[in-house]
């Protein structure tokens, strides 16, 4: 096989690994790094994103739905979606429902959105590592 073809095949494989790691890391924070054998990062990212998301829900923060009307709500939906499984299980985890009339609930809304955005950063890193571009 030609060397160029081998390099292209290898790059394709790496790109596929990057995509798999990114999707896994989005669905379950840290799972992408776990697949890439970055044990400590996987554990820390799961704990950090998970604790932020669960704290947001425990504080009865609001979770934005897909049927957002204005730009702010759409941005909120995008941020919340980053939390992956915590977003999809939000209604089950937050039995009492949101209460954003109180300050604590409002802080919870921000913490949950921060968890989602933080997870997006870890997803980007998982994608890079999967492609063979280990961040410095």
């Amino acid at each position: 096989m030609d060397e160029t073809v081998i390099k292209e095949e290898s790059a394709k494989g790496n790109q596929m690994m990057g995509i798999v790691a990114a999707v896994a890391g989005w669905i379950v924070p840290g799972l992408g790094h776990l697949l890439l054998r970055r044990w400590s990062k996987a554990a820390i990212y799961f704990l950090c994103v998970g604790s932020l998301a669960l704290a947001g829900l425990a504080m009865r923060g609001g979770v934005f739905g897909a049927s957002a009307d204005d730009l702010f709500d759409r941005l909120g939906f995008f941020a919340d979606l980053g939390a992956g499984i915590f977003y999809f299980l939000a209604h089950q985890l937050q039995a009492a429902g949101p209460d954003i009339a109180h300050a604590t609930g409002d802080y919870g809304t921000r913490l949950f959105a921060a968890a989602g955005m933080l997870n997006f950063l870890t997803v980007l890193e998982a994608y890079d590592i999967g492609r063979g571009r280990e961040p410095r």
Binding site: Y45, C48, L54, A58, T104, Y107, A114, L118, P135
Partner: protein
Amino acid sequence: MNFLFGNLTHFGALVFFALVISVTFAFLSKRGMAERAQYTLWAFLAFLLVAIGIGWLMYPFSQ
């Protein structure tokens, strides 16, 4: 989780947020545990300092 975070004050939420974000950023941007620990401490203190500083600057407008 409710007993831990149910009645968190604004400052408590800030401390928790600062700690979690600092640790994650340290793992994202640094290698080696010593470097990460140093970065976590630095970023955590910077978060608190900036937040308290902005709080003091905003205080006159709350009256």
